[in-house]
């Protein structure tokens, strides 16, 4: 039987990680992630979790410790946020390019400056091209479930890539929700132990791990990496399906559609704002407006085909980013969606930025946004970026 508890996102992440039974954990505290580490340390101190935990002196070392363990064949876990992720970048890149599967939770936080500690997607989105898989989740249940699913995706022999499970700092990391904790035996059945064959760091089978590699061979490594990331799209869907069959919760895989089939207007969201946006869709549906929502779960690999299938033929689409894409004057997800829709010029595609540095994204923002989309199918008028301002107002920025 599942246990039902009211818990924060960070606790859900720690429980999810513990259920996956990592052999080695290393982490360094940072707001808003810290209680993930504290929870895991507590479980180990109480004998509830049999993992080696290394309380490192920096995030750079956190990723390095789990890298050493993973090269030697361990299942590993760590978690971080913002500046910690930035400090980790060097071994972070290497984790994926050495094809070492692991799960790292990111409690998303705005990047400094101005100095800030609150929620955003700017940290994780800024490292989207470092070869990891990146999944964004909406609520605390999804955090727990996706950490378990994450190992199954990452360790798949066709994938062998590390994965980030990303949830908005404070909005999820610190707020309590109802969460079902599956029993350990069922998780064990769903997620067998990890037994890597592609890398060894053991005297019984001597191997040089990562010798100096010429460009022609390096190109083959990169090509395989890209293929594996592409393959992960299928695996993410399959694992979602298997998980649903075992635990009764289906998330839709790489994307989740909400009332999209007959919709003229679609909000595209990522992360915790999705719940609010779904509520706005419900309100507008009651008013007879054909609104829908597309939640992007996989940012890497990007589900280009699915996004295309869902949005093709829609009149107006707003892509809402809790991050910015420097140099494009839009959010990053907008750029990705636009690239995926490169042959759909008839859609009025509107970039929206909101909720940076922990600013609220409210119901009024989304209802106003749907009103704006409904008023126009004039692409040219509304291609400028809309900013969600305080009090639910929309502000057009050229």
């Amino acid at each position: 039987m599942s246990k039902v508890m009211a818990t924060t996102g960070n606790t859900a992440a720690a429980i999810g990680a513990a259920l996956a039974k990592p052999q080695v954990i290393a982490a360094y505290p940072i707001t808003p992630q810290s209680s993930v580490v504290e929870n895991l340390a507590g479980m180990i101190a109480n004998g509830e979790l049999n993992s080696k935990m290394v309380e490192v002196e920096s995030e750079h070392s956190a990723m390095s410790v789990v890298q050493g363990a993973a090269v030697s064949g361990a299942r590993t876990f760590t978690a971080t946020s913002a500046q910690g992720l930035a400090l980790m970048y060097e071994p972070y890149f290497r984790m994926s390019t050495l094809r070492l599967p692991m799960v790292m939770a990111i409690a998303g936080r705005e990047m400094t400056s101005p100095e800030t500690v609150w929620g955003s997607q700017q940290d994780s989105i800024s490292v989207r091209d470092a070869g990891w898989l990146q999944m964004y989740v909406e609520d605390n249940q999804e955090i727990l479930d996706m950490i378990i699913q994450g190992y199954k995706v990452a360790e798949n022999q066709k994938v062998l890539l590390p994965i980030n499970i990303i949830y908005d700092g404070f909005f999820l990391s610190h707020l309590m929700e109802r969460v079902e904790v599956p029993p350990q035996e069922k998780v064990d059945q769903f997620l067998p132990g990890y037994n890597p064959q592609h890398v060894k760091f053991n005297p019984s089978e001597p191997m040089a791990v990562d010798p100096l590699t010429p460009g022609d061979i390096l190109m083959e490594y990169r090509e395989d990496h890209l293929k594996a990331a592409h393959k992960a799209l299928e695996v993410i869907d399959d694992v979602d399906n298997d998980f649903g069959n075992s635990f009764g919760r289906y998330y839709g895989g790489a994307v989740q559609e909400y009332l999209c089939d007959d919709a003229d207007i679609v909000l595209v969201t990522m992360g915790s704002m999705t719940g609010t946006a779904k509520e706005a869709v419900n309100i507008k549906r009651e008013q007879g407006i054909k609104a829908g929502l597309l939640k992007i779960r996989a940012m890497r690999p990007f589900p280009e085909t699915k996004v295309n299938e869902v949005l093709k033929g829609k009149k107006a689409v707003a892509v809402v980013d809790r991050n910015v894409c420097f140099g494009w004057n839009t959010g990053t997800l907008f750029v990705e969606v636009k690239a995926a829709l490169n042959r759909c010029d008839d859609i009025s595609l509107v970039p929206v930025i909101g909720g940076l540095g922990g600013a609220d994204i409210t119901l009024n923002h989304f209802t106003n946004c749907i009103d704006l989309l409904q008023k126009t199918s004039d692409y040219k008028k509304y291609h400028k970026c809309i900013w969600f301002k305080k009090g639910g107002e929309l502000h057009e920025v050229s």
Binding site: Q23, V24, A26, S51, K52, V54, E55, V56, E57, S58, H60, S61, S64, V65, V66, Q67, G68, A69, A70, V71, S72, G73, A74, T76, E90, P91, R94, K200, F201, N202, P203, E205, P206, M207, A208, V209, D210, P211, L212, I217
Partner: protein, 301 residues
């Protein structure tokens, strides 16, 4: 097994064809260390001279006959901490060893090493100190000694070589209360082997071995003089041989130490030094050595 027998009979674990510069102190240190450490060992080598010489592997071949990984320049100790944690979890006894240059140890790798020493992971960390970034063209590092002519501390009309004294890594590691700290020198192989064996016997905590590694190419002396340069470093107290364990120091005393100029004059990186410069270096050497004498107390032999 006597040290000579170890050096003569134990298998060389470096792959055939691997070679650093002629007379390289680091290569001698690597080959000797691996002969002593044996096959139940995994090795991490960060970027530096040994990695550059192909010791991790290149040209489609492995560089060692035992597992080896090129760590990042700044994460060798924390990477190996993770390796050791897994072997502890699995209850398998594997020697986990770093062979790193001074830049990867004293400069950008220092935080990771400091953390690993504080936490006491049971790894053997060997630093081959050739006093600079010799693999990338002889730039200065934190362990470059005062006055050294390097490509980033050139001898010009205003400034002549490095302005600062070197960072004292073995002493810093002793102050971390590492399980075992020692200085090693390739001109004193019996001592070298016995210190390595002592590090291998440590089953709790980190061992830090600091090796004097003369660099013919960077220090600019003839490659047949490497051992002579290394020996003079000891004979002049420029590189004292000592150990630290259980809160106490043990110092090997040099009978009738020679003036430091006998060491300095062998390398062209010091050739611009005038009498006053050499006096200052001598004073620094004497001060450091006297500190060691005080710390060692009765443990001087």
């Amino acid at each position: 097994m006597k040290y000579r027998d170890i050096l003569m009979e134990q298998e060389d674990l470096v792959s055939p064809g691997i070679s650093a510069c002629q007379g390289c102190g680091a290569e001698l240190c690597l080959r000797t260390a691996l002969r002593v450490l044996g096959k139940n060992t995994v090795v991490a080598i960060p970027p530096g001279c040994l990695a550059g010489a192909g010791v991790v592997g290149w040209n489609y071949d492995n560089g060692l006959k035992i597992p080896v990984h090129i760590t990042l320049l700044d994460n060798t100790a924390s990477f190996l901490a993770g390796v050791k944690e897994l072997y502890d979890y699995l209850d398998e006894d594997v020697q986990v060893v770093a062979i790193a240059g001074d830049g990867a140890t004293a400069d950008c790798g220092f935080q990771s090493l400091s953390g690993a020493a504080e936490r006491g992971h049971n790894i053997i960390y060997i630093c081959y100190d050739n006093e600079g970034y010799m693999n990338t063209g002889f730039q200065r590092s934190g362990t470059t000694t005062k006055g050294s002519h390097t490509s980033t501390t050139p001898v010009g009309s205003l400034i002549k070589g490095k302005a600062q004294h070197k960072k004292d890594m073995p002493m810093i590691m002793a102050m971390h209360n590492a399980a075992y700290v020692a200085t090693l020198n390739p001109a004193y192989m019996k001592d070298f082997v016995s210190k390595l064996k002592k590090a291998m016997s440590v089953k709790e905590g980190l061992s830090y071995l600091h090796v004097c590694s003369p660099c013919p190419t960077g220090w600019r002396f003839n490659s047949d003089l490497s051992i002579e340069v290394a020996r003079k470093a000891v004979k002049t107290n420029f590189f004292p041989l000592y150990e630290y364990e259980n809160n106490s120091f043990k110092l090997k005393k040099v009978a009738n130490p020679e003036p430091v100029s006998n060491f300095l004059k062998l390398s062209k990186k010091f050739k611009h030094l005038d009498e006053k410069d050499i006096e200052e270096i001598q004073a620094h050497v004497d001060e450091k050595y006297n500190n060691l004498v005080n710390l060692a107390g009765e443990n001087i032999n």
